[in-house]
């Protein structure tokens, strides 16, 4: 027996709960406000929160403070659900969400970083920079990108293993869609990148980018897959002069990249990773963070050097400054996600240890 004290809420009759249908305007407004919250939160608290909102709306029909409070709290719940804020509903799910957000941040960093470094690689194909800053920048950026590529492969192994191991279970259907997204996105990027890489502006230059660490084939592929990261979007007349196929690729390639990243994020969120696998991913995240800082240092070195070089081959424009801003945001988001995932992983481990060490199921008094 519970000792619940029932308070008669406005809009109720004789202390009875609200009518289940609640067709009134208050119920509609409550449901609208509830949309601020993520699905997992709504599944847990949705009904009772709606009841509270209906009662509150009956007392205070108009209140911008209530709307602002619900919006703020809903956004916080969404951040927690994405592994970017504390106190999630489910620590294990939050650890996976944190990893997924980290993967998205790393992907954004990788795309913009590749676009920036491929621009430098083109310059290095045709000219030897007189300024030391450019070669230092290129070494740092290309070295960091190489580390990212290796880390991405290492990070994918436990996720792929867990996904394959769990494919026969109930979650097989849930993993199919992200697997299709990953495969389709990767296939389009590889085929398109190889095809459009043939039109690389560095073709005909030195085989090995002078003073850079990037072979021309890799630089061409990186340039082709990130062709959409361009200032030409701000100059429609110049963009119209591009071949139609290239323009179509500039639209298709980011869509394919989005498919790939969305699929990876969904796979990570839906795959049951062991505590050991999460710890391993966290270790990789730490190395990736160091790589991001190294890349950012190289990019800053280039952008702040102010060296245009012959035919402005090393000129850093507005799109590169915007790229720098994206890199900083991606790094900060990734760091926050890693921190939350680490905390959620520890909470999961503590919960498992607590359950393992508990001799009997506890009985709460009065139940």
């Amino acid at each position: 027996m519970t000792t619940t004290r029932r308070t008669i809420a406005p809009g109720t009759r004789g202390g009875e709960p609200h009518d289940q249908g609640q067709p009134g305007a208050a119920a509609r407004r409550a449901r609208l406000l509830l949309r601020w919250y993520p699905r997992s939160w709504r599944a847990r608290y949705g009904e009772e929160f709606t009841e509270l909102l209906i009662a509150d709306l009956a007392e205070r029909p108009r209140s911008w403070r209530r709307a602002a409070d619900v919006a703020r709290s809903g956004v916080l719940a969404r951040l927690a659900s994405a592994g970017l804020a504390g106190h999630p509903l489910d620590p294990a799910a939050a650890a996976r969400s944190g990893l997924a957000t980290l993967a998205c941040s790393a992907a954004a960093f990788g795309v913009v970083g590749t676009a920036m470094s491929s621009q430098l690689a083109i310059g290095l194909q045709w000219s030897v920079p007189g300024d030391h800053y450019i070669t230092v920048a290129m070494d740092l950026m290309s070295g960091a990108l190489l580390v990212f590529a290796v880390l991405a492969l290492l990070a994918a192994i436990p996720v792929a293993w867990a996904a394959i191991a769990g494919r026969s279970g109930r979650r097989a259907g849930a993993l199919l869609r992200p697997a299709v997204l990953v495969s389709a996105g990767a296939l389009i990027l590889v085929v398109g990148g190889r095809h459009f890489g043939n039109g690389w502006p560095g073709t005909g230059g030195s085989w090995w980018a002078a003073h850079g660490l990037v072979p021309s084939g890799v630089a061409a592929f990186g340039w082709a897959t990130t062709m959409s990261v361009s200032s030409f979007w701000a100059h429609p007349a110049m963009l119209a002069a591009f071949p139609a196929a290239e323009r179509a690729w500039m639209v298709l390639s980011p869509a394919a990249a989005a498919c790939l990243v969305t699929g990876v994020a969904q796979l990570v969120r839906r795959t049951e990773l062991s505590a050991r696998a999460i710890r391993y991913e966290m270790w990789l995240a730490g190395v990736a963070g160091a790589g991001m800082v190294a890349f950012l240092s190289g990019a800053l070195c280039w952008v702040t050097a102010g060296v245009a070089g012959p035919q402005r081959l090393f000129h850093a424009g507005t799109v590169d400054l915007a790229g720098l801003a994206v890199l900083v945001v991606a790094l900060a988001t990734g760091a926050q996600a890693a921190q939350q995932a680490r905390a959620a992983g520890r909470a999961t481990l503590a919960g498992q240890a607590g359950q393992a060490g508990r001799p009997w199921p506890t009985r709460t008094p009065g139940r």
Binding site: T4, T7, P17, E47, L52
Partner: protein
């Protein structure tokens, strides 16, 4: 133990010390004894944190309004928090009386 959200959290725990209550009952009770009306978002944000920390627990309910109850850990945390607050209040009041003549 109550952390940064000690304001709403302590109010909720103090309210639940009397017995289990659902969201609306909590709001009204807190308003009556503290003169503070917790907004719905703030209330449920704090309820979620307290539940995740094991200081309160949700009870089964036969309607859509789920009641919450203080756990033994929550009672201990509230007691510790209130004792420390009482000590602060006593020291402050004594000093006010000594230096300013205010009781």
């Amino acid at each position: 133990m109550l952390g940064r959200s000690s304001g709403p959290a302590s109010l909720i725990l103090a309210s639940l010390a009397e017995g289990a209550k659902h969201g609306y009952a909590l709001t009204k009770d807190i308003e009556s004894f503290a003169g503070v009306r917790l907004a719905p978002g703030t209330l449920y944000e704090a309820l979620g944190r307290l539940e995740a920390s094991g200081l309160i627990e949700a009870l089964e309910s036969d309607d859509r309004r789920r009641p919450y109850r203080l756990t033994a850990t929550g009672a201990t945390a509230l007691s510790t928090y209130l004792r420390s607050q009482r000590q602060v209040a006593e020291v402050g009041l004594r000093r006010l009386a000594d230096s300013w003549g205010l009781a």
